[in-house]
Amino acid sequence: MLVVVTATINPLFLTPQGVKDLLLNATIVVILAIGQALVIITRNVDLSVGSILGLVAFGTGTLFAVYPGIPIILVFVIGMAFGAVLGAVNGLLVTIAKVPALVITLGTLYIYRGVNNAWAGGTQYFAGDRPRAFSSLSTDTIFGFPLITLLAIAVVVGVAIVLAYTRAGRDLYAIGSDPAAARLFGIPVTRRVLGAFVASGVLAGLAAVLYASRFNAVGATTGTGLELDVVAAAVVGGVAIFGGSGTVVGAAIGALLLTTITSALTALRVDKFWQQAIVGVLIIAAISVDRLVSLNRARKLRVSEARNV
């Protein structure tokens, strides 16, 4: 709807370039939001995604700087593996020490960022340091669709299937729904939660490599403050913050919506100063609508199940 309104007011919004830009912008947040959704569904949260993205993105820049001829695919693999390691650190701390993820990942948010700062210092790597083929990944299109957007769609579909149709995926919902019961029931809670964090790390790693491909500079502050955007995207997309429900398709749509809002506001020439306020209103509106719908559903359930009293 937002897209339609914007497109009528500003036709340029839906030119091929406009659509391409929209999708490209959303891609990175979409991928991060998918990972975040996985973690939130298990009644945890990963606040360190921004820092992980920063570290891996800088790592990617470094890789190309140190080994200019490195195959691009290998960079993706290394980036995702690096993300997996960082995610695993979160996951291990959360599961082994049995402490709240919010605290742990707030801690690793600081630590990863610190490490990134220490490692990068003032160094930044620019697009020019990376091969053309790598940069063009984020601009090439197939049938008008940007390559990396197709990649994101593939990730969404893949993760959605895992969540909906595999036992491990369903276990995540059970864990988020009632962790104590899940443990009593014999669901391998530790392994699954760890898995969710690793997956979130891997996806953050993937997003980071794409980030390096799309944006000019990667350095010490890359990805700062992204965590709240990502959580907001997942929540706007209907992932319950207390776990147990929500889908990655929802999270992806949430991410798309939030980025669309920003682009749409710019395209509508809304005063820059109002933009952030409007984003805030929209976040609140989205969760309110979600809540009203679910309340309504609950009431219908109550009435429909009632004996005719």
Partner: protein
């Protein structure tokens, strides 16, 4: 259904306790001295003593002043935040409330409104902003994490709308000087008195009033709290209001201390506040936490930060230390628990052996 025998236990028979080991019920004092808050306090003292003896320039009253001035906004906001987190909610919009208060303060002052009126309006504004959060969370039943991510953007957005890219700096000298003035030559900022008052209010509220009891109960179990007549929604609403109010107070202090009203003031300090509160022993799941603990948590991070800066460590180290401390503070009890469990298991096994030998 068949007949059922209803029997009654013999009168006066002492309740048989399940076969318990000789219970080592620790005395009140041992418990206090070994509590989490106490351990944090020892850590704080250790840091101070170390810095005092080892870090050049630390041993001066200037340290006290600069250090306290730095932590005041966080310390202020941490008080209501602790209560909010104890009830199982969270408020991420505090930094934006600081920013919006600052912006409004600047604009009103520049428009010629008398400074006294400006201050009152600012506090009122904070109250309203908190009430909006409270309304969304309690009346609509929305998750506070999500709501306050929304208002975090919204309030910061308003700040931009209000003051745009301007900065207002010419606040009355008496006020800006007052905000950094010290108590005699102790080095302690005068504003600390206000902060202490706020801490006292929240500390007493949490630990010594019926309302505090209600907060703790509802933090652990909302439903059970409702069943003893605790007005869960109302209690939370007022906590959000208090968070807004105190954040605007912090906003006023911030503006005066830096004598600069800008839309981006205090950006990002919400995470610092939450980190300090959690380090102070408040459980993110609600229920557990104490005001002295939170104060110690804030001071601990503040002191370590300041010491590291004095010792010329870069901020890089600082953020790593903050993160590590936060993680250690929650992981350490788990490790201690585990160690105690091992010890206990060994003790039980030994007792079993003795019992077996005795038979």
């Amino acid at each position: 259904m068949s007949e059922r025998t209803i029997v009654r236990s013999g009168e006066g028979v002492p309740a048989t306790t399940a076969g318990t080991l000789p219970v080592r019920v620790r005395s009140r004092w041992t418990r206090i001295l070994l509590s989490r808050d106490a351990v944090m306090f020892y850590a704080l003292i250790a840091v101070v003593v170390y810095a005092y003896t080892q870090v050049p320039y630390f041993a001066s009253t200037q340290t006290v002043g600069f250090l306290l001035l730095d932590v005041i906004p966080i310390l202020l906001i941490a008080m209501p935040m602790a209560l909010v987190i104890i009830t199982g909610e969270i408020d991420l919009s505090v930094a934006s409330t600081v920013g919006l208060t600052s912006a409004v303060m600047g604009v009103l002052f520049q428009a010629g409104v008398p400074i006294g009126v400006v201050l009152v309006l600012c506090l009122l504004l904070g109250t309203v902003l908190g009430a909006v959060n409270g309304f969304l969370v309690t009346a609509l039943g929305l998750p506070s994490l999500a709501v306050t991510i929304g208002t975090l953007a919204l309030y910061r957005g308003f700040a931009l709308v209000v003051i745009g890219d301007n900065a207002v700096a010419n606040f009355p000298q008496e006020l800006t000087r007052f905000s950094t003035s010290k108590l005699g030559d102790t080095g302690i900022p005068v504003v600390m008195l206000l902060v202490l008052a706020v801490a006292l209010v929240f500390g007493v509220l949490l630990h010594f009033t019926p309302f505090g009891r209600a907060l703790v109960a509802l933090g652990f179990n909302k439903e059970a709290a409702a069943f003893v007549g605790i007005r869960v929604g109302r209690a939370k609403f007022w906590l959000f209001v208090s968070t807004g109010l105190v954040s605007s107070l912090a906003g006023i202090f911030w503006t005066l201390r830096y004598s600069s009203a800008r839309s981006d003031n205090a950006t990002g300090i919400e995470l610092a506040v939450i980190a300090a509160v959690l380090l102070g022993g408040v459980s993110i799941f609600g229920g557990t936490g104490s005001i002295p603990g939170v104060i110690i948590g804030v001071l601990l991070i503040g002191t370590i930060n300041y010491t590291l800066r004095l010792a010329r460590f870069s901020d890089v180290v600082l953020s790593i230390v903050t993160g590590a401390l936060l993680i250690a503070s929650v992981v350490a009890p788990s490790i201690a628990e585990w160690a105690r469990g091992r010890l206990h298991a060994r003790r039980t096994a030994r007792l079993e052996l003795q019992r077996a030998a005795a038979q």
